[in-house]
């Protein structure tokens, strides 16, 4: 069963995604436009890792926002908007991947080919995007980029909470094998095939 992100109703900041979503529910297109602007980069960062393809991520993001608008009435602000939106986008990405040809599906299982922007080569996230599977990288992003709990990640990725914890543990372990204890990059000696494809 999917888990709730929170059982309590948090006070909403006026510019929070949740507050913008409530205003959009009342018919404000300006609020929805602000919501798109506020969430686009965050959603794109998740989906580009999930799909491994920046162009596909663009299409998924656009479709996800349109679907979110159509389904906005089902959103309740006591849930985090990001969890709700990312769940929609994740489902769309899965649906699109299923309808693609097998060759395309196979290529999507490869490590993310997303090219990091210049200047981030020393970031651990560059290592994540280069070495981990799309699903593992996406899970790490949801955990450390979005600050989601394992239960929320499970909901977004359609996995069990335990499965997510295992996936995160293996992903961190895989990264550790590529980083020296002093933090410098290590020469890869252990193939990461074991973590590719997630768990």
């Amino acid at each position: 069963m999917s888990e709730r992100t929170s059982d309590t109703v948090r006070p909403l900041r006026e510019d929070s995604p949740e507050a913008l979503a409530v205003r959009a529910q009342r018919g404000s297109r300006d609020a929805f436009a602000a919501l798109v602007e506020a969430m686009h980069a965050r959603l794109h960062s998740f989906i580009v890792r999930r799909t491994g393809c920046p162009h596909e991520a663009e299409d998924v993001c656009q479709e996800a926002f349109i679907r979110a608008w159509e389904r906005l009435s089902t959103y309740h602000p006591k849930w985090r908007f990001s969890t709700w939106l990312f769940t929609i986008a994740g489902r769309i990405a899965i649906s699109r991947a299923r309808t693609r040809r097998p060759t395309a599906a196979l290529s999507s299982a490869e490590p993310s080919p997303a090219t990091p922007p210049p200047g981030v080569d020393s970031s651990i996230w560059t290592l994540v995007d280069r070495e981990l599977s799309g699903e593992s990288a996406a899970a790490l992003w949801l955990k450390y980029g979005e600050g989601m709990e394992a239960a929320e990640i499970a909901r977004v990725l359609g996995k069990t909470e335990g499965g997510v914890r295992v996936m995160l543990h293996r992903a961190r372990g895989a990264l550790a094998r590529h980083i020296e204890p002093d933090g410098s990059p290590a020469v890869p000696s252990v193939p990461l095939a074991v973590v590719r494809g997630g768990s």
Binding site: A24, T74, A114, V120, Y144
Partner: protein, 168 residues
Amino acid sequence: MNRHGSIARRLSAEAPRGLHTPPRSIAADVLARIDGTPSAPPATRSSPWRLALSTLALAAAVALVAWLGGPPASPHVPAPSDPMTLTTLVDHHAPMHRAWWMGGPVYSWPKPRAPAWGSSYDAGFSVASALRGVADAECPLEQEAQLLADDAKEATRRVLASLRLAVR
């Protein structure tokens, strides 16, 4: 473990550098595509009160139907074989869950015959009902409803296993 901790700290600290900047804004495209497509009015079905009332009403309806002798047998769902295994029981629940989740006819499923089958039927129905309530509140997509229906199936399997019903 310490390595995992240091990796986790780096992932958190460097998260802003992991943000993939989209190549362009899509807000204009999105607004153009939703132009003339009003969002559905805020629904009240996610209200906890409404959910609770719905659940109570459904439970009362189920109890009434059971007291009156149950729904007529459906020609669409084959009766489980006898002796029933746990697998056939759960598989038998699957179409019920699917129809239940997708808003299909509720009372067109076969009336259980054997006492054990009746108990398992109720257990499965309770699980499906509870999960349906969650789905009404949270489920944004039909696909997710299907996935959650699979969860319902698994939940039913666990309930039946714990009750040791109809397991040969």
